[in-house]
């Protein structure tokens, strides 16, 4: 396991309180967590246990009330292109084409036109949207929008990917296909991934490590290491080892 010094992401005693009216609500309670370079970690837990809050803190879109969130040893101060975020609602810019969306981050980084084109092209191909490079988001299906969002996040070459229930809205078939694609791309271009999901199967299938959270207050409840080999195939999905891990995670989520 990773230690504090080699951890890519280090969450130290992070609490996040929300004050609504007079009520003080603890969304995260002293969460401590280390994530190593190139590790694929999934976060599962009941609704409201603070998964999104934790992800937003890592993204720099929210800040801890107390404690530290460190990325590469530095406290997170705000969002940055080193951490790509894939939002549950896709959050594609509807006025830009697929290509325009994928090029967005490259433009803000000041990448020249020619190189922008080429890099966007590469990632559009990676997610299999080359036929739709000039399509507007409104003409894409949910799964295609999701793939576009993935390409957009990948294009700026973030070393960390933060994904918040990215496949939540998809049908089972598309979901499995995108899971496999995601692992393919992760195998091809390693990144540190923090992936939030409600789905226990998905959590086990994708992860090197599953972190199970509990609610009220939001905290880390259990950690399950997933030592299944890569590439993860359908055989693995149907294997008894997978079933055993899934059961462990299931127990942790549903019998907290």
């Amino acid at each position: 396991m990773s230690t504090a010094t080699t951890a890519r992401i280090a969450v130290r005693d992070v609490s996040r309180h929300f004050t609504v009216g007079r009520e003080r609500f603890t969304a995260l309670d002293r969460v401590t967590l280390d994530i190593a370079d190139n590790e694929f970690v999934t976060l599962v837990g009941p609704s409201g246990c603070g998964k999104t809050t934790l992800l937003n803190i890592l993204a720099g879109l929210d800040h801890p009330t107390s404690g530290d969130a460190l990325v590469g040893g530095e406290p997170v101060r705000g969002p940055g292109p080193g951490r790509g975020v894939i939002f549950q609602q896709y959050a594609l810019f509807p006025w830009l084409t697929v290509r325009g969306n994928v090029e967005f981050g490259l433009r803000t980084a000041g990448v020249g036109r020619r190189e922008r084109r080429e890099r966007a092209e590469h990632f559009i191909r990676l997610v299999g949207l080359e036929q739709f490079a000039d399509a507007l988001p409104k003409t894409l299906s949910g799964g295609m929008k999701q793939r576009c969002a993935i390409a957009r996040a990948y294009a700026v070459n973030p070393s960390i990917l933060l994904m918040d229930e990215p496949f939540g809205a998809l049908d089972a078939l598309t979901r499995v296909r995108l899971q496999e694609q995601l692992l393919d791309t992760w195998n091809a271009e390693r990144r540190t991934v923090v992936f939030v999901t409600h789905d226990v199967d998905e959590a086990v299938f994708l992860a090197n490590r599953v972190i199970v959270m509990a609610a009220r207050p939001g905290r880390v409840f259990a950690t399950v290491d997933v030592d299944l080999p890569h590439p993860r195939t359908e055989q693995i999905r149907l294997s008894p080892e997978f079933a055993a891990l899934r059961n462990r995670v299931w127990q942790a989520v549903h019998h907290q």
Binding site: P79, P81, V85, F93
Partner: protein, 266 residues
């Protein structure tokens, strides 16, 4: 929810009523023809109306001696000047109000106050202050266009989805980039709706302003005709105003649709 969102008003669905099925066009034509027919029938039945033919003849005469064009140009210039200046100011002020709380606090009371006053009601004051040439007329048109458009622009800015702003920020965008590449395009549909309303208001204000105080223009022509019971001229004026207004509205709509093609249509 993927992101912690502060309460933002749900992005109001801006309508783009232009997308009319083509099959309705024949019906539109039938309706117009029937309307003109009815007008003709009423005129023939002894009502005090001039017939469409008489109006057409009068229009031809006015076109031939140049008065129609002069009047139309005078009116159009006023309305366009006021409308363009008013919309431009509205977009700037609306963006400032949506982006900076300070600007909102400073502008809001004045806008709310002046919104309750029909711009025309300002005309007497403006005439006294600005004299009787073009300026007061253009000014009330400016006011009408500005007040119609500014709130809509402001609404557009504040209803930009938080997630889109966050998406831009995690892609490395700073404030200026978020503004130029997210807030501006996302509020374009709102601005266009405001501009259409503003154009209608500008046009309505123009004609009334000309009726009250002008030496030329379509409104002025009708006002003079009224003194001589010259009904055909009044009709020419009404039809010209309607046609010009319609053309300008369509032009704006078409231009707007090109800009907002990305919107999901119902």
């Amino acid at each position: 929810m993927a992101v912690v969102t502060p309460p933002v008003p749900a992005p109001a669905r801006t309508t783009s009523p232009a997308r009319r099925p083509r099959s309705l066009l024949p019906l539109n034509l039938v309706s117009v023809a029937a309307g003109v027919g009815l007008w003709w029938a009423l005129a023939a039945a002894g009502l005090q109306f001039p017939t469409p033919a008489e109006v057409a003849v009068q229009a031809g005469r006015m076109a031939a001696d140049g008065t129609l064009l002069d009047d139309a140009v005078a009116s159009l210039l006023r309305v366009l000047t006021g409308f363009v200046l008013g919309s431009a100011a509205a977009i700037v002020v609306g963006f400032l109000m949506g982006w900076y709380a300070v600007a909102r606090g400073l502008f809001e009371p004045w806008i709310q106050f002046f919104r309750t006053i029909p711009p025309l009601a300002m005309l007497p004051l403006v005439l006294v202050l600005l004299g009787i040439d073009e300026t007061p007329k253009v000014f009330v048109i400016f006011l009408a266009a500005f007040l119609s458009c500014v709130i809509s622009t402001y609404q557009g800015v504040v209803s930009v989805e938080r997630t889109l702003i966050n998406a831009a920020r995690v892609l490395g965008a700073g404030d200026a980039t978020v503004f130029a590449r997210v807030v501006v395009p996302a509020s374009t549909p709102f601005i266009l709706v405001g501009m259409r309303v503003g154009l209608g208001a500008a046009w309505a204000t123009l004609v009334a302003a000309e009726l009250l105080a002008a030496q030329e223009g379509l409104g002025h022509r009708m006002q003079t005709a009224q003194l001589y019971y010259d009904l055909p001229t009044i009709f020419v004026g009404i039809v010209s105003i309607g046609v010009l207004g319609l053309l300008m509205d369509r032009a704006l709509l078409l231009g707007g649709n090109r800009l907002t093609r990305w919107q999901e249509t119902r």
